[in-house]
């Protein structure tokens, strides 16, 4: 995986030593440690799943399955690099597997029309509430949403996305362009209504 967004892997656990000992206890099937690890990372990982899922229930299913897999494979974690990044990859892969299995990911996209995309900047996104941006991503069609999440947020290359989803690389590119166009258009519409992220104001 090409880690383009290195800031995504900021540690949640303050002390690295604490995290290592917690993970080692989890490897030894210590339920209390596993619960502690789950409590530490589940809110953030549910946020990840929520971007891929159609509903919160589906996101929770993804999270549950992802954590089960993560705990089962924890002995393969080599303590090199961020644990959050490792966990996130498992959660994302689980979400993709569930999407591939249960949903008909639709990748219908006209490549010619996708080519006529206006250059989008991050300005509109910066001025939005986080929750609004997430909901806009989730409002995209399944296929678009998945490719957008994998490319723009997780930092996978189009080649890797094509392998993960079983589609062509060109299809991944066109999906992404299309998703970006749709998202930009909706952001602009929202911006026109004055929905902006004001400093010092946070959503409940």
């Amino acid at each position: 995986m090409t880690v383009r967004n290195s800031r995504l892997s900021q540690p949640i656990v303050r002390s690295m030593r604490d995290e290592v000992s917690l993970i080692k206890a989890c490897i030894q099937q210590n339920r209390a440690a596993q619960k502690k690890l789950y409590e530490l990372y589940s809110p953030k990982m549910l946020g990840v799943c929520y971007r891929y899922a159609a509903s919160k229930e589906e996101a929770e299913d993804m999270l549950q399955e992802g954590f089960i897999r993560a705990f089962q494979k924890l002995d393969t974690f080599r303590f090199q690099g961020s644990f959050e990044g490792w966990l996130r990859r498992i959660i994302v892969n689980t979400a993709i597997n569930i999407l591939r299995k249960y949903q008909n990911l639709k990748y219908e996209c006209d490549i010619e029309s996708a080519g006529n995309t206006p250059a989008a900047s991050g300005d509109a996104i910066t001025s939005m509430y986080t929750k609004e941006v997430i909901e806009l991503i989730r409002a995209l069609p399944n296929g678009y949403r998945t490719v957008l999440n994998l490319y723009a947020v997780e930092g996978y290359s189009h080649r890797e996305i094509a392998d993960m989803l079983g589609i062509n690389e060109s299809s991944s590119r066109s999906q992404y362009t299309r998703a970006k166009t749709l998202l930009t258009k909706r952001l602009e519409e929202l911006e026109a209504f004055g929905v902006k992220d004001h400093a010092g104001i946070s959503l409940p």
């Binding site: 383009r4 967004n5 800031r7 995504l8 099937q29 339920r31 596993q34 619960k35 789950y38 409590e39 589940s42 809110p43 953030k44 549910l46 946020g47 990840v48 929520y50 971007r51 919160k56 229930e57 589906e58 996101a59 929770e60 299913d61 999270l63 549950q64 399955e65 954590f67 089960i68 705990f71 089962q72 569930i98 299995k101 249960y102 008909n104 989008a120 900047s121 991050g122 300005d123 996104i125 910066t126 001025s127 939005m128 986080t130 929750k131 941006v133 997430i134 991503i137 957008l148 999440n149 490319y151 723009a152 947020v153 930092g155 970006k180 930009t184």
Partner: protein, 406 residues
């Protein structure tokens, strides 16, 4: 500020917003994770135990087969070729000059035409004793003894079967009363009743379980077995081969079943675009699973009276679901769909048989009885919130044929 942000890339800003986002999961989600972990550990332990059990059984079976083959081949080597080559025997000249035809003794090969050694001598060789060479009288005495032994066997045993050509009286293979020595081919077919046990892996699925427990119905299917059966002794035998079995169940969603989660679960996992529940209608799924099984069973047989016996068997089977079909009855229209991917392809089944066996002759046997199978793993993959274990009980008719040359 606006100008400063103007150059930020779309991807970076999107990733930043996404990274800031988190949600609190519902309190009972950990229960699901914990039950999944417990279940995974239990399944691993069961598979490990089953693997160890199967391995030990297989190794024991192979060891027995090899041991028995070695035993037979030793006897055969003794009978066919003798302990020592003829040239190494110190045979008296008067015996070497004898040209009278050798007495016919069952079990002695008469094919060695070029030797001048009398057959009686060969009999001695076959029995491994070269200390003394018997006279003609001694040889005929031996013949009489063996003939009387056969007569005794004919008198006391239903139908003795002699195996000439083995060269040793221990190789007079007198078949047991069950006529079941060695390898047999067993073909069985029957109809079965199929249903399932349901358990929920997390609290979300409880509603589905309660509804299904109320409305699900059994499904009839069939099973065909083709196996080889090896009799280790008159009473103990092992069988393996290939089985085909249809299992499944019928799921009915009725008007009263208004659970939104029930609908959501079915919509999600059965690729249905629309809600499967419609007021005033009953929607029925017929879930039929087609299984290929490779069993390894141990059977215990006992003669009840004359030709009639009974045999009970128990064992494990590796199960592969090669094709699963869902038949959906909705608005009086049948739809066939292939199985969703969440179904488990490989399973492990505990199997048992109780058969009455009737011997027609020394090779054929008719069988009739009960056959049962219980899948030890869920029909669905681990992440599916419902744990469903199929079972099947049915009547079975069969025929068993003992291979020739035994």
């Amino acid at each position: 500020m606006r100008e400063f942000r103007f150059h930020k890339s779309f991807e970076d800003e999107l990733a930043k917003k996404a990274d800031q986002f988190s949600m609190q999961p519902s309190s009972r989600l950990w229960d699901g994770v914990e039950s999944g972990l417990n279940k995974g550990a239990a399944v691993k332990a069961r598979i490990k135990l089953a693997g160890i059990g199967s391995g030990i059984t297989l190794i024991a079976l192979l060891a027995i087969l090899i041991w028995r083959n070695n035993d037979h081949s030793t006897s055969k080597a003794l009978g066919d070729k003798g302990v020592l080559p003829p040239t190494s025997l110190n045979i008296p000249a008067e015996l070497q000059q004898q040209s009278a035809p050798a007495p016919v003794i069952p079990g002695i090969e008469q094919s060695e035409k070029n030797t001048s050694i009398p057959s009686a001598v060969k009999t001695i060789k076959a029995e491994g004793s070269i200390a003394s060479i018997p006279s003609k009288e001694q040889a005929s005495s031996q013949n009489r003894m063996e003939s009387s032994s056969i007569a005794y066997n004919r008198f006391h045993i239903d139908k003795p079967e002699l195996n000439p050509g083995k060269g040793n009286k221990q190789n007079y293979r007198i078949k047991s009363q069950n006529y079941t020595d060695g390898w047999n081919l067993m073909v069985q077919a029957g109809a079965n009743y199929n249903y399932r046990n349901l358990n929920t892996a997390n609290p979300y699925a409880d509603e589905v379980k309660s509804t299904r427990d109320r409305t699900d119905r059994y499904l009839a299917g069939l099973a065909i077995n083709a196996r080889v059966r090896y009799f280790w002794s008159e009473r103990v035998s092992f069988s393996t081969g290939i089985n085909y079995r249809q299992t499944g169940e019928r799921i009915a969603i009725q008007e009263a079943d208004t659970s939104p989660y029930y609908n959501a679960l079915f919509n999600e996992y059965h690729y249905s675009e629309k809600s499967v529940y419609r007021p005033g209608q009953t929607t029925t799924f017929t879930n039929r699973y087609h299984q290929i099984e490779i069993p390894l069973m141990i059977h215990f047989s006992r003669t009840i009276h004359g030709r009639l016996g009974v045999s009970s068997g128990i064992g494990l089977a590796a199960v592969y679901s090669f094709s699963n079909h869902y038949k959906l009855y909705d608005y009086r229209v049948y739809h066939y769909a292939t199985a969703p991917i969440f179904l488990r392809n490989f399973n492990l089944a505990l199997q048992g048989q109780l058969m009455a066996e009737y011997r027609l002759n020394s090779r054929f046997m008719l069988q009739a009885g009960i056959d049962a199978s219980y899948n030890m793993l869920s029909t669905y993959a681990d992440y599916y919130p419902i744990n469903q274990k199929q079972y099947s009980v049915g009547g079975m008719l069969g025929v068993q044929w003992r291979f020739k040359g035994q």
